[in-house]
Symmetry: C2
């Protein structure tokens, strides 16, 4: 893990860009964190749009989390942002666009091709990032995951024992295999669903929520479209992490 830049934001949060091999990432530290007072960590789940396009939303969530005493970090997804183009992923996205523009149903095969290779490739990268982040003296634990491509969150919750709670955003396609994996998830979950998000298969999200094996799982459904998660819903998600990571 190589740090490539560092700046102090208005509220004292330290933003540090890094690379992990050839993967770019960003780490945000609360001003008060130090080796003698290490803080819990929230992994800010990936954005297929790329970190640069997502930056305003990511930094807002990072600053909110820093105010609660949490470090946050994120890395670029394979094939996103400035990372090398990934032919298979581009083909899967193109096929999805074609089908949706034609008004055809999105088949299980298209969803599998779109999501499963991404999950297989991204999850080990996130685990490597976690290794590197937890080796920093000012980051302790526990670790939460908050994101993004929900299938990556599901797989991470199953395979990565260092993640002890997760906020998941329903609203992307979920392969059948991931729905099965969800039954093995046992950590506390807080699932956000935008009820009237037209790009979202609401029933698939409800089925996924039902499948999770966790004894504590909460679904918060709100109005406001895909990017319109209300402020109070963000605050509730933050309180979930405060309950489980503090």
């Amino acid at each position: 893990m190589q740090f490539t830049s560092e700046q102090r934001l208005d509220d004292g949060v330290i933003e540090r860009e890094f690379t992990l091999g050839d993967i770019p990432g960003i780490l945000w530290m609360p001003a008060a964190a130090s080796a003698s007072a290490p803080v819990p960590l929230i992994l800010l789940g990936p954005a297929p749009l790329g970190l640069r396009k997502m930056y305003p939303r990511l930094v807002a969530r990072a600053q909110h989390s820093a105010a609660e005493g949490f470090a946050t970090a994120t890395i670029e997804l394979p094939g996103s942002g400035n990372r090398p183009r990934w032919e298979a992923a581009e083909q899967a996205r193109a096929e999805l666009r074609r089908v949706m523009e034609a008004g055809e149903p999105v088949s299980d095969e298209i969803v599998d091709a779109l999501v499963l290779p991404l999950v297989d490739k991204a999850v080990p990268e996130w685990q490597a990032a976690l290794d590197a982040l937890l080796s920093l003296p000012e980051i302790g634990g526990p670790v939460g995951y908050s994101g993004g491509v929900i299938s990556i969150g599901v797989r991470l919750a199953v395979v990565e024992p260092r993640i002890s709670a997760a906020v998941l955003f329903a609203g992307s396609f979920v392969p059948r295999a991931i729905l099965e994996e969800a039954r093995q998830v046992t950590i506390p979950l807080h699932v956000l669903l935008q009820w009237d998000d037209e790009g979202n298969d609401r029933q698939a999200a409800l089925d996924l929520f039902d499948a999770f094996g966790s004894r504590e799982k909460t679904l918060h459904a709100n109005m406001g479209g895909h990017t319109g998660v209300p402020q109070f819903a963000g605050d509730e998600a933050a309180r979930f992490f405060t309950r489980h990571l503090s």
Copy 2:
């Protein structure tokens, strides 16, 4: 409205029993309320079990609300508690029991017979209680509704403009006519659903949530069975009222 008893609870909350005609009720006032500092009011939705059986849960919610600066009040449902037996309601309940014990499906007709007469009779009583409560100098407004038999909450939200926000507990049978009325509801709603409540028709609850016309409506689904609403979910419902009634 005749007050029949008054006692001060441990935390300073004043509990006053009253009758409104022949309807018994209870009012809880925060210690700090006075004619010069009137407080908002939450109507604690009715309990078919009767006020006495429900008392421990009701007083806990009332004390929680008082700590947030709200008065709370509740009245006995027609045919419940010490109120005169109501033959039609008893017959409808007996028929529901018979059908459920026989493992037969609960028909729309049974649900209508069980719920609609209760809503028709109870809602005007709650409006009369609201008249009386709002005439007390130490109660100002705004008014929230929190309950209970969800169909009563839906009807009240439609016909009673003095109610400006509602917390509704999904988990009782909902007649088709009430599902239609739900489309006319426009106040902010916070709906609690116990996801794994076996006595609850989850799909009916989701359909009802979908039907509400409100621009701000939130569904919080949690684990824990019918009476196992987690503490944090109760806290979130309380914050909903703090956002809308303070």
